[in-house]
Symmetry: C2
DNA sequence: TTGAAAGCGCTAACAT
DNA sequence: ATGTTAGCGCTTTCAA
């Protein structure tokens, strides 16, 4: 590619017949410039289609109007909503976003964070950060070098800014809803490794106990990959096996919508009607919950707001309005649709 | 936020007791350095946790290892797959990606492109670029300033690099498949404004004619927004209306999977079984096509590959291996699942 | 109101 | 093999 010689502030100065200092003053409008001079400079800028090199500016100002965002995967139904929330907010502040996928690998999170730092980003947001990197102090370290906000990850005693959805309340509401509707034999389907699944399972146990409902290990169904393109299909298969074996369940709580979809399809496959024969409740309120038949009753994670609030918080840190570490909880909301019935 | 003083090449030089030039040489490994000196420098780098400022490097080298990607919307089922294709390829080459949403607005595409240029990106990829900005020469102009590749947008006579999926063949195969399966009354559902819908409709008309099938204006169903969260629901409503009015259709071609899902759900709502009473074929092969019941027969757009090929092409341009403009067509593939039956 | 000059952190001749 | 110096494109003292 033959690179055109980029026009610089020098070219503008030459054409306008002034010094580069004056051009800079016109551009940034931060020192008095005689009106006539300003006109000349503005014309030169216009004619040459000059636009300042932000690398050079960044080098001096220690400000790039750039932030970095790390996400496990973008080809997924809910992370994009969070990202959208971040982007909409930051865009208004004049920022542009580096977006990179970690594929859920702790080492990748580290590599990417460093790549961001090298590029002098003004801030970093990590969506669904790996527990490992929270616990080992990696993000605490990054936080000291650059404003950082973690979305949907948390560990006590770690000095970082956290923004979380209220998984606890969300899960409680969902499972209580099943119980209130007369369900006693409630299954629980989850992915293998994530703080989120552990937390939800804990709550499930607690509520079952509290309501004197039968706790059966067989009712906990775990699939390997809870968060990929395969999740729905894995869930479908496993649920068919489970229901064929021993179907005493009247309802299932799924840790996310993809699993819920798999459960619904699996139930259909073996001739069970949802919600007539089996009630299903999901988590996340992704777009799929509107598309599936029956429409999915699920917990709205408020992903967009999660992103927006994290961005807002990041902006505060960047602008030094606040230098304490905070933990912000975003409320969830149970969305009633068609996949749960009263028995 | 209290910014720590960042450690620079000077600090390393001081600690190692050498000049900054020597440090630079060790880092870039491009000039001979005595082994002992190298050791000293490497130790200093290690101790200070030095990492070079890429703004400064970029300023000199005219190379930022950064590319910009513009996409209409990220909260969508198929763009993320394209982006993933781009990211995976570019990541291997050491690049990092600016990702920004245009919300389908031509002015935004322009604003963002300029923001990228100001940040000295090494290249730009636009997914689903607005026709307006192709035709008015905007992207042609950008192409002269910076390596640029357009995905799924095209106009004759415009000097740009294009990467496209073969919508023509894809549509022909899909509709022919319906015809081969004995369908004669075939409906067509589309969004309102996009080159893509026009093209598909044209092909639909052509094939119907060619096969002496009845062409009925009523069989063309247009919904306002073909590409948003609302698409599926809009399609569901409109199809219910259409089928209730006058149901002579045995099959429907949907311009994308979201519409197809709406059609399937609408059919179910009024007691029609898919594919027993109505066959449905989609376009895109998004994740939803596997999740819906029945699983959707659709055209695989090969979104990942689309992104990958565009990235590869961009890389070629950046590395000056080629300075002609090319048009690359990615083949599509009909994916047979469960939503079409022979009659 | 304007300009000269130093310098942001780095690289690359050029010199030694 | 190593260091000195100019300079990438810009901002900001300082001086005029």
């Amino acid at each position: 590619m033959i690179q055109h010689n980029k026009v610089t502030i020098h070219d503008v100065a030459k054409i306008a017949g002034v010094s580069i200092t004056t051009v800079s003053r016109v551009i940034n409008n931060n020192y008095p410039v005689k009106e006539a001079t300003r006109k000349k400079v503005e014309e030169a800028i216009e004619n040459l289609k000059f636009s300042p090199n932000l690398l050079a500016k960044g080098l001096i100002n220690n400000k790039t109007y750039t932030i970095g965002v790390i996400v496990p995967s973008i080809a997924n139904l809910f992370f994009p909503a969070v990202i959208k929330g971040i982007e909409c907010y930051m865009k208004k502040q004049g920022y542009i976003i580096f977006l990179t996928e970690s594929e859920g690998l702790p080492k990748e999170e580290q590599r990417i964070s460093k790549a961001f730092l090298d590029r002098q980003v003004d801030g970093i947001i990590i969506i669904d950060p790996r527990k490992e990197n929270i616990k080992n102090g990696f993000f605490e370290d990054i936080s000291t070098q650059c404003p950082t906000v973690l979305i949907n990850g948390y560990n006590k005693g770690i000095k970082c800014d956290f923004v979380l959805n209220d998984q606890e309340i969300g899960t409680v509401e969902a499972i209580n809803y099943l119980i209130e509707n007369g369900h006693k034999n409630i299954g629980f389907i989850r992915g293998s490794k994530s703080y989120s699944y552990d937390l939800k399972e804990e709550i499930y146990f607690g509520l079952m106990k509290k309501n004197n409902l039968k706790l059966n290990k067989e009712n906990i169904i775990t699939i390997e990959d809870g968060n990929s393109i395969l999740t729905s299909e894995l869930s479908r298969k496993v649920i068919i096996k489970r229901l064929k074996n021993n179907n005493n369940l009247t309802a299932i709580f799924a840790c996310n919508d993809s699993m819920a979809v798999g459960v619904i399809n699996g139930a259909k496959n073996i001739g069970l009607k949802v919600p007539d024969d089996l009630s299903v409740i999901g988590y996340d309120n992704t777009i799929i919950s509107e598309m599936i038949d029956p429409k999915l009753t699920t917990v709205d994670q408020n992903m967009y707001k999660l992103g927006e609030v994290a961005a807002k918080r990041l902006n505060e840190i960047i602008e030094s309005k606040d230098n304490t570490y905070t933990k912000t909880i975003i409320n969830t909301k149970l969305i009633l649709r068609e996949s749960v019935r009263r028995i």
